[in-house]
């Protein structure tokens, strides 16, 4: 059976005057109904661009230069905009980081919700309002009738993000792409929003792509994780396994640099030296090699591919892959 969403060797470029730069370099992953995938990485790794390219929202100089995206077996990456509009915001919804920027400040919540439903369905205003109310209840908003008449500025940040989630649910999507949905929110509200997303995925068998830089959030919510670095997925697999036993040195460094995970109080944190390269300046071979403690000569010559490392995890690291082969040979 085909996957709900399948991304094959996706490559996204941005056409600049100085030449094309590659923002996404051949990434591959799949998503099934009800599955929750975390897309993790630092700023500029290509997480959000991946999200945008799925729903074909790449802005102008950006374009998909290679690869295909399949949704329910159809190749949506080649759809013209007209056709894509039937899917975007309908079968695949997206939630963005800043709830104040996403809602239109000059229209009431109710207006924006009814507009969304009517854009995708032939439905009367009264019926659309009923659906809106039902979804507001679903995201546990107190006194939903009152909220429909309110403007975004009258609501708190957490409430706004709940309304955005309610809007994304209006058309009963199969996939929700959430791009840093809680980064602008306080930790107690973050916990509530994450609970809500999990609850909705379970009750509606919805798939979730959670784009975030926060490994803690990802490890609480998702079953699968894809760690991105400089436009590539460098580790992919079961969240539990990756977070507890990271294979790629970058993932390992990322986890160890979080205060309070492995390092004792007051001791120096494990730091990854240097910083992620800019996309115009990606080093040859493995993009992580200048910062890597395992670096060998092959790392500067050949780009590593994602390979199976056992335990349901794939990683793109020459050194770890060789170690894995040796272990397998000894075992075999």
């Amino acid at each position: 059976m085909s996957h709900l969403l399948q991304i094959n060797d996706l490559e996204v470029k941005f056409a600049l005057r100085t030449g094309d730069i590659t923002a996404i370099d051949g990434i591959r992953f799949t998503l099934d109904r009800g599955e929750k995938l975390g897309l993790v990485g630092e700023s500029g790794a290509g997480k959000s661009v991946t999200g945008f390219s799925i729903i074909n929202l790449l802005s102008k100089p950006g374009y998909i230069s290679k690869g295909k995206i399949f949704f329910q077996g159809n190749e949506i990456s080649s759809y013209p905009n007209e056709k894509m509009r039937k899917i975007r915001g309908n079968a695949i919804s997206m939630i963005f980081q800043d709830p104040m920027m996403t809602l239109n400040p000059v229209f009431t919540v109710g207006f924006q919700m009814i507009e969304t439903i009517q854009a995708h369905r032939e439905i009367s205003k009264a019926n659309a309002r009923k659906i809106a109310l039902e979804k507001l209840k679903k995201v546990h908003i107190p006194s939903p009738e009152k909220r429909l008449e309110q403007y975004p500025h009258e609501l708190s940040g957490g409430m706004r993000q709940r309304i955005i989630i309610a809007i994304s649910l209006l058309t009963d999507p199969a996939i929700i792409i959430a791009d840093e949905p809680t980064t602008a929110l306080d930790v107690t509200i973050q916990a509530e929003i994450m609970d809500l997303l999990q609850e909705l995925c379970a009750s509606d068998n919805m798939a979730l792509i959670l784009i975030t830089h926060d490994l803690g959030v990802v490890s609480q919510v998702t079953e699968k994780i894809a760690v991105m670095y400089a436009g590539k997925i460098i580790e992919y697999g079961s969240t539990d396994q990756v977070v507890k036993h990271p294979v790629h040195p970058y993932t390992e460094g990322l986890i160890k640099s979080i205060p309070g995970t492995l390092i004792k109080h007051g001791e120096d944190l494990v730091q990854i030296p240097g910083m992620m390269p800019t996309l115009t300046n990606i080093p040859p071979g493995c993009a992580f090699n200048p910062r890597c403690y395992l670096k060998e000569s092959i790392c500067t010559q050949k780009t590593p591919e994602l390979r199976d490392m056992g335990q349901g995890v794939q990683a793109a690291c020459h050194v770890k892959q060789r170690g894995n082969r040796q272990n397998n040979n000894e075992a075999g």
Binding site: S156, Q190, G216, L254, P259, T261, H265, Q271, M276
Partner: protein, 340 residues
């Protein structure tokens, strides 16, 4: 405890911001009469604490709890409405600009956003030499140059880049430069207001290590303000938890995280997502944070607290020290209504 161990103490500080606007906005019709009414944001309400020499006091809380306001009041950027601030035993909140100068040299601040806190039209050299020339007019050009190079070296920015502008640096390097600006006058006390919140995780670790290293080498005292609980747990000696302009709990970092006492602290800590732990059950709070414009009566937390009773809604709880040295402002803890 010897009082000479205390570098900074804050006593009953109150800071309210008037947001009424102009005269016409103040006119209100009430009980059949026309009167003037002011509306104010009660950002900090009767906050007292002290910072010991050489320690890192972390201040945590959610947005709007007053943690940045208290930092700015301490630095003299906002005058407090009432209350007193003592630095090394001397009162500093009522000083004139001239009297404050020697203290400004000893107290420095590092801000959250290195994109906003560095002047984009000044080179690194200009940014770093300005405080030196102002506070040390006796320094020669050579001395200034040496000092700048020494500090840049210490924060890990190549002194060869001295002529560059902020836009030529990455976020992490900019934050290093703003730390260099904070360190260049050899201060004793640094207020760091969310110094790593705008940075990526791997860069955040570099900057935290740098701050801890500078603290050790220069015997600095920090007031470290952040909303990130894992950061504060890692770097602080003691932690103050703020909610709606008041301190609800103040304890040694390890004690606070191992055994939070205040119901708000418990809820806050339970909400931290931990790497590798699936769906930890967090304590759900009722409702939302009330606005600081109309503060609740009694304990500011009572409307959201499961332990709240009659007394909580009328009487403001004071910070009380428990047997283990933690201070908690909660009637329920005081009356032993909350076990452990």
């Amino acid at each position: 405890m010897k009082p000479d161990n205390i570098l900074l103490s804050v006593k009953n500080v109150v800071k309210h911001f008037d947001i009424t606007g102009g005269f016409l906005d103040q006119i209100k019709f009430k009980n059949g009469r026309i009167g003037l009414e002011k509306i104010s944001v009660k950002a900090v309400n009767d906050v007292s604490f002290f910072v010991k020499k050489g320690e890192v006091l972390g201040v945590v809380g959610e947005s709007g709890c007053g943690k940045s306001t208290i930092a700015r009041v301490i630095m003299g950027l906002y005058p407090p409405n009432s209350g007193e601030i003592y630095y090394d035993g001397k009162r500093i909140d009522n000083l004139t600009h001239e009297q404050m100068l020697p203290f400004r040299k000893k107290m420095q601040m590092i801000f959250q956003d290195p994109y906003a806190s560095l002047n984009p039209r000044k080179t690194v050299q200009q940014t770093l030499e300005e405080p030196l020339r102002f506070h040390h007019p006796e320094f020669s050009n050579k001395e200034i140059k040496d000092k700048i190079e020494e500090v840049m070296d210490q924060v890990g920015v190549d002194p060869a880049w001295i002529k560059r502008y902020p836009h030529e640096f990455s976020g992490g390097q900019r934050q290093r430069i703003s730390i260099a600006r904070g360190l260049i006058l050899d201060p004793e006390f640094i207020v760091a207001d969310e110094p790593v919140s705008a940075l990526d995780v791997s860069i955040q670790a570099q900057i935290l290590n740098l701050l801890m290293k500078a603290g050790r080498e220069r015997n600095l005292t920090y007031l470290f303000i952040t909303h990130d609980l894992s950061v504060v747990r890692h770097i602080s000696t003691r932690v103050a938890v703020m909610y709606l302009g008041t301190i609800c709990e103040l304890a040694k970092s390890l004690d606070l995280f191992a055994n939070p006492r205040h119901p708000y602290t418990k809820a806050l800590l339970s909400a931290i997502p931990v790497v590798g732990e699936k769906r930890a059950k967090h304590i759900k709070l009722k409702g939302e944070v009330p606005t600081p414009v109309e503060l609740p009566t009694g304990c500011v937390f009572h409307a959201r607290c499961v332990y709240a009773d009659e007394r909580c809604s009328t009487q403001v709880p004071l910070l009380r020290t428990l047997d283990n040295g933690s201070s908690v402002a909660c009637h329920a803890v005081e009356e032993n209504r909350i076990t452990a």
